[in-house]
Amino acid sequence: MIELIMQQWQQITASSWLVVFSVLGFSAGIFIYRRSGKHPLCHPLIISTPLISLALYALDIDYGHYYQANGVFNWLLGAATVALAVPLSQQLKKLSVLWPTISIAVLSGGLFAAFSALIIGSWLSIEPIAIFSLAAKSVTTPIAMILTEQLGGLITLITVLVLFTGIIGIIVAQPIFNAFSLHDERWQGLILGVTAHAIGTLKAFEKSPRCGAFSTIGMGLNGIWTALFLIPLVEAFGP
């Protein structure tokens, strides 16, 4: 226990002034994102990360050094994962009769998302370490990062793939709902949450609060569910 606390303390105290890069980059990202009318391709991460990497290259700062220096943020990620329970608990209280459909949809959707990625990934003969960094792509980033770390994948890769999944998800969602005539906003929200996590949930809230609420449920439950099955699934799959 003491050892665990010391470990976390060291992570926090490893932080240095390099944190400034992340904060400035994030501020620039948020500014441009709001200016663009919250366009998905102007997501704060898409804007800020190239700027920060350019700054690191220009000042000849080692990436590993920069990552360590951001220890506070990496530590807060754990706290943020715990905090996801708050919106989820508020949405879960609101429904009762829809439980069977929600659970079947989330259980199979989460499994399908991970399994299809593993199958297609190995079919395209992607290296194991990259496949390990792909499996958690449909899950919200904080959970995806923890899972990828445990699988032995690269967390630098999973953050990008999760972001990309979210963007692809919200681009293809509406045409798919139209093509298969799924007009109920509740189920559209759930699907957005399961397949496109936080980015899908933002999109769902733009449609209606109800759609967003279902998306929150889809994202939260799929995060929990994927955390339970993903590691055994990848081990059984053994790419």
């Binding site: 943020f73 990620l77 708050v86 998302a113 297609i120 290296e127 953050t159 692809i168 397949t195 055994p232």
Partner: protein, 96 residues
């Protein structure tokens, strides 16, 4: 943390515990909400350090990147279509 052979990450256990507590109506929600909302609103900031790493990947991983992105492009719509069909077939039976 290993429990009956299934590995559940620590922060996720924390999330489940908090969820179990919050499901019961209490004043606790009002107490944590200001902090949790702030944290979740600025979640992207916490991803930046790892995300920047995408520009510092090893050449061998860089070579895999197009294939990885292609996998996402195929797998994501497939999952959405599968879920749409599944929900439609369940709803169809209930005439809802």
């Amino acid at each position: 943390m290993a429990w009956t052979g299934i590995i559940v990450p620590g922060p996720l256990i924390g999330m489940l515990l908090l969820l179990a507590v919050l499901i019961y109506p209490s004043r606790l929600t009002n107490l944590i909400q200001p902090v949790s909302t702030r944290l979740i609103q600025n979640l992207s900031l916490l991803f930046i350090p790892a995300c920047v790493g995408a520009f510092f990947l090893s050449p061998s991983i860089n070579l895999q990147l197009p294939m990885l992105l292609l996998t996402v492009v195929i797998s994501t719509p497939l999952t959405m279509i599968a879920m749409t069909l599944l929900i439609r077939s369940i709803k169809g039976q209930q005439n809802d």
